[in-house]
């Protein structure tokens, strides 16, 4: 029928209820008085007329009630009275209400906090124009097992002009740069992209302008755009900053614009957010001549043309790659199967942390369920106490539906109060909570409480209210009238109906607790395995520090341009480090163990293809390894064991025969049946480059993270092939904090423009590399602990309640000769049996949930027998303990008192 009209009048009533109520009365009064006036005209006295009119009208209140019912507003009135009733009940049971609201606040608060992270990281679109069209571009060589290889300028041009897929593409160089000329030299994260980088992302500057085609320079442009953060920190938010010059790695750059506060570069970085943004044409100095085979570019992102799906775009790119392989056979060896792949940018940014966040979300939702089951239990206990109230209501004509509604309203009131408290807690403590979240989770700075988060929190509150309200509500509705009154009258208690419902609640609570504990057990075992994992060296008493030599675009301004000059620096650095009192040994490495987690960043050690002398190209499938440049004493400092051959010596320098040391993984993989010592290898495909001889084999060192195995490494001497990113490793018994000033002093006495960063013990480095694993394991572990606590409270409460209700029965049993042990056993059996059922159910469910966690585990199988054995036993023990106390109380029942109580 006329739904809109009804809805409107309904809303009108809800909004203006009081005014409409007054109008209703005015209307009735008008009627009565008009009628009375007529009666007076017919000759009645005023007083009598009024009386007569009132009588003829009938009961005003009941008519008003009917009028309210006529506009369908009665449920609203009833809701109000239910709420007032519920409020009085909570007020009367302050202890119960406090416990319920507090646990709910905890549960909902934790959910809100975790969900706000999930929302920011996984759900919200990237904060750019049409983010769905942004993709990351990968160049792969599946034939030789390489992914995300570098690409050349002509290949970049192909993407832009030939592929007919992209509106814009940009290579992305991410890396740290040394900012000088503004006080203490500072290390900044920087990004260099193409001139369309900003227009591709759809950014508008805060002040000044961003790059455009007019800035085009074949090499690097002499301009720079800075972040809001840098602008505030280094320039005090000076609006006249435009046109000023800053030096990055010695290159003078003119500031042309400042980015808006919210802008963030969409990519992984070595550490922190990029703050300086350069642009270049990538085709002239400092870049080599653009040739198809000169692959110097890393990390491409692109914006798809409108209307193109990912699959269509991918198909075109695959076709183009095939055509290119055909057109330029010299640049694309057939066995490499060079190809192009695109992935949604969002996926490449957050894909890695998705499993962890989803596990956390799952855990926190389980917790709130356990919380609500516990409250359901409390409410159910109360509902049994209210049986008489319910029975009387039923007897007086309340409908069962009406009573269910009342019980649900009470639970909803409770859950919404708890939810509001939880949301308030989460909002208030979010900043504090985020400090514990490992910073390598992307997009953390976008975390905030928005409508989505609030909506989720509200949903969770309502769901919990339903979960814990439904049991007592149904119970109230089912209550058989006569028996309830009689039972209530007799004051006996543990009716089988409530009993069964409460049993189900306890069983589910335990099952949930098992799931959480198994998850926590697996994560904690993973963490323990990782810490106990031999990283291939001895990390104690090692202090590390990072330096990055400047990489100016003008080669004349580069004091570290070539290998001999860098070798000089390295030697001076090592001499000074060894001279620090307390330092026994010093060495240099390009990649600290456990830190090479972003190989595609500039300075990250990427996996490279290589060739083995005298091995036919066709048979050498999958030849790739990470190249790490080290100084001679590196293995000695780390106490890594050299298995065969020799370490590098000071003599392995530029101009001498090139040498290499391989690790066990490389040896097993590429020389499974022969001796690699003395064999020769060469990185890249350039056959004019000289070979390097394998002179030693070292035990595997976990360079790429403690949880990554089997990556082949080839070490080369830093005096023969050095990089600009280097870390010093010092063997010393002194703590890092004590050494830091001296390390800094010594390095800056070589070159005052060199910032020193990340001074830390090696153990600290390894520890940080596991930060996000530790975070999730700790969190899930904490939730599991909470779940066990709540479950045992549940069991305890149930049995204590039973003992109280059945004290008469216990008294009779004891009077008839039952021994205390029998009584004890009776209640213990009940508790343990319930726990047993819950645990078995939980184990079955855990078998599923654990498989879903497989990607988060290391060294532990999802169905790890130890975890699956210990968790049930532990919970059973806890359940037995929780049952023991109420059971023992049952044995203290004095039969005389219990019987007389009746």
């Amino acid at each position: 029928m006329n739904l809109v009209a009804r809805l409107r009048s309904w809303l009108k009533w809800i909004v203006n209820g009081r005014r409409l109520d007054r109008e209703m009365e005015t209307e009735i009064r008008f009627h009565i008085e008009s009628y009375a006036a007529e009666l007076v005209r017919k000759g009645m006295s005023q007083q009598e007329a009024m009386r007569e009119a009132r009588i003829e009208f009938g009961g005003i209140e009941s008519h008003k009630d009917a009028m309210r019912a006529a506009v369908g507003i009665r449920w609203w009135d009833e809701l109000g009275s239910d709420l007032r009733h519920g409020w009085r009940l909570f007020y009367k049971n302050p202890a119960f209400s406090a416990v319920a609201v507090l646990t709910l606040a905890l549960g909902v608060g934790a959910n809100t906090a975790i969900f706000s992270i999930v929302d920011a990281v996984l759900l919200r679109s990237l904060p750019y124009r049409d983010p769905d069209r942004l993709v990351r571009i990968f160049f792969n060589e599946p034939g030789v097992g390489l992914r995300d290889v570098r690409f050349s300028k002509p290949e970049l041009d192909d993407l832009q002009t030939r592929a007919d897929v992209f509106e814009d593409v940009s290579p992305i160089f991410e890396g740290s740069e040394n900012l000088t000329g503004a006080g203490q030299p500072e290390r900044l994260e920087g990004v260099n992209g193409s001139f369309s980088y900003f227009s591709m992302l759809g950014v508008t500057p805060q002040i000044g302008r961003l790059y455009g085609p007019q800035d085009f320079a074949p090499g690097f442009a002499p301009e720079v755009v800075i972040s809001d953060g840098l602008w505030r920190r280094a320039y005090g938010a000076d609006p006249n900053v435009l046109g000023r010059t800053l030096r990055l790695d010695n290159d003078p750059l003119t500031i042309i614009g400042v980015l808006p506060p919210g802008f963030r570069h969409p990519g992984p970085t070595i550490s922190g957010e990029p703050e300086v943004f350069g642009a270049g044409g990538f085709s002239a100095d400092p870049f080599p001549k653009p040739m198809r085979g000169t692959r110097i570019l890393v990390n491409g992102i692109g914006r798809l043309k409108p209307g193109l799906t990912l699959a269509q775009a991918q198909a075109r790119l695959t076709a183009m790659a095939a055509q290119l392989r055909y057109d330029f056979p010299a640049d694309y060896p057939p066995q490499a199967q060079w190809t192009i792949e695109i992935q949604p940018l969002q996926e490449t940014l957050v894909g890695k942390v998705r499993p962890m966040l989803l596990v956390l979300l799952g855990a926190v939702i389980l917790i709130v369920f356990i919380v609500s089951l516990n409250i359901a239990n409390l409410l159910l206990a109360r509902a049994s106490g209210r049986q008489q109230e319910m029975a009387v209501r039923l007897a007086l004509g309340a409908s069962r539906g009406r009573m269910v509604r009342q019980m649900l309203t009470e639970s909803m009131l409770l859950s919404l109060i708890g939810g509001a408290a939880g949301i308030a807690t989460a909002v208030g403590t979010l900043g504090f909570i985020l400090r514990f979240v490992p910073s390598n989770i992307p997009r953390l700075n976008e975390v905030r409480i928005d409508w989505m988060v609030l909506g989720f929190a509200l949903l969770i509150s309502i769901l919990t209210g339903l979960v814990f309200g439904l049991a007592p509500a149904l119970h109230a509705a089912k209550g058989a009238l006569s028996s309830a009154i009689r039972e209530g009258g007799r004051g006996s208690g543990y009716s089988t109906k409530t009993g069964r419902l409460r049993d189900v609640l306890i069983v589910s609570e335990l099952a949930f607790a098992v799931i959480l504990m198994v998850g926590a057990g697996l994560l904690l075992r993973t963490l323990r395995d990782l810490f106990q994992e031999n990283p291939g060296f001895n990390p104690t008493q090692v202090v590390t520090a990072n330096i990055e030599l400047p990489n100016p675009n003008e080669s004349e301004a580069d004091p570290y341009l070539d290998i001999p000059r860098r070798a000089n620096f390295d030697r001076e650095l090592l001499r000074r480090m060894k001279a620090i009192p307390g330092v026994e040994l010093a060495a240099i490495t390009e990649a600290l163990p456990g830190t090479n987690t972003n190989p595609s960043a500039v300075g990250g050690v990427a996996i490279e293809g290589f060739a083995i002398e005298d091995r036919p190209v066709e048979s050498s499938e999958n030849l790739s390894a990470e190249r790490i440049r080290i100084s001679p004493d590196y293995f000695k400092v780390l106490q890594a064991s050299l298995l065969r051959g020799r370490s590098f010596s000071e003599g392995d320098e530029d101009g001498k025969p090139l040498v290499a040391i391989i690790d066990e993984s490389t040896a097993h993989k590429y020389w499974p049946s022969s001796d690699p010592l003395g064999r020769r290898v060469r990185f890249g495909r350039d056959s004019t480059k000289p070979w390097r001889t394998v002179v030693g084999i070292v035990k595997d060192i976990k360079s790429d993270g403690l949880d990554i195995d089997g990556v082949p490494h080839i070490y080369v001497s830093t005096y023969q092939d050095s990089s600009k990113r280097l870390s010093v490793v010092l063997r010393t018994s002194l703590p890092a904090t004590l050494l830091e000033p001296q390390i800094r002093h010594e390095i800056q006495s070589i070159d005052p423009g060199l910032p020193v960063f990340g001074v830390s013990s090696m153990n600290g480095v390894l520890d940080r590399s596991l930060a996000s694993r530790r975070f999730s394991a700790d969190l899930v572990g904490g939730f599991a602990g909470l779940a066990v606590l709540l479950a045992s409270i549940g069991i305890y409460g149930l049995l204590a309640y039973m003992v109280g209700q059945r004290s008469r029965e216990i008294g009779i049993r004891m009077a008839l000769g039952a021994r205390r042990d029998d009584i004890l056993r009776m209640f213990l059996r009940k508790g343990v049996a319930l726990a047993g059922v819950g645990i078995v159910a939980g184990v079955v469910f855990s078998a599923f949930t654990a498989s879903m966690m497989a990607s988060l585990l290391y060294g532990v199988r999802p169905h790890d027998p130890v975890v699956f054995l210990i968790v049930p036993l532990l919970l059973l023990a806890v359940a037995a303990l929780a049952s023991y106390f109420p059971a023992r109380r049952a044995t203290n029942v004095n039969p005389m008192f219990a019987l007389r109580e009746v």
Partner: protein, 113 residues
């Protein structure tokens, strides 16, 4: 005033719609008009008029508006909406069909079967 007839179940709504279709009326006016048209033959329980008015207003068939009565007092006047006019029309049709049907049934003599 002769013996009044009790209102048939469910016909009050129709009578109210008819009454206000002749011009806006306040509640008491509706009562008077129905009694007047029926020649004082119908008995309407005065109080039960209002729930019916509210229901009709809620369903959007009549619209209430506050105005001034003949004796210069504030009163709520109801008038028929377009939807109400359609409803009244449909109800009248139904009523006529039903009464003629029932009348025909009641007229039936034994020969006609």
């Amino acid at each position: 005033m002769g013996k009044q007839i009790d209102l048939l179940q469910g016909t009050l709504d129709m009578l109210i719609l008819k009454a206000v279709s002749l011009g806006p009326l306040h509640g008491y006016g509706v009562l008077l008009r129905i009694q007047q048209i029926s020649g004082e033959q119908l008995e309407i329980q005065q109080g039960s008029l209002y729930p019916a008015l509210y229901r009709l207003e809620h369903q959007g068939w009549i619209a209430g508006e506050w105005g001034e009565s003949d004796n210069k007092r504030k009163a709520k006047f109801y008038s028929l909406t377009t939807a109400g006019r359609r409803k009244l029309h449909a109800e009248t049709e139904k009523w006529n069909r039903m009464t003629s049907l029932i009348a025909a049934i009641l007229r039936t003599t034994s020969e006609e079967i």
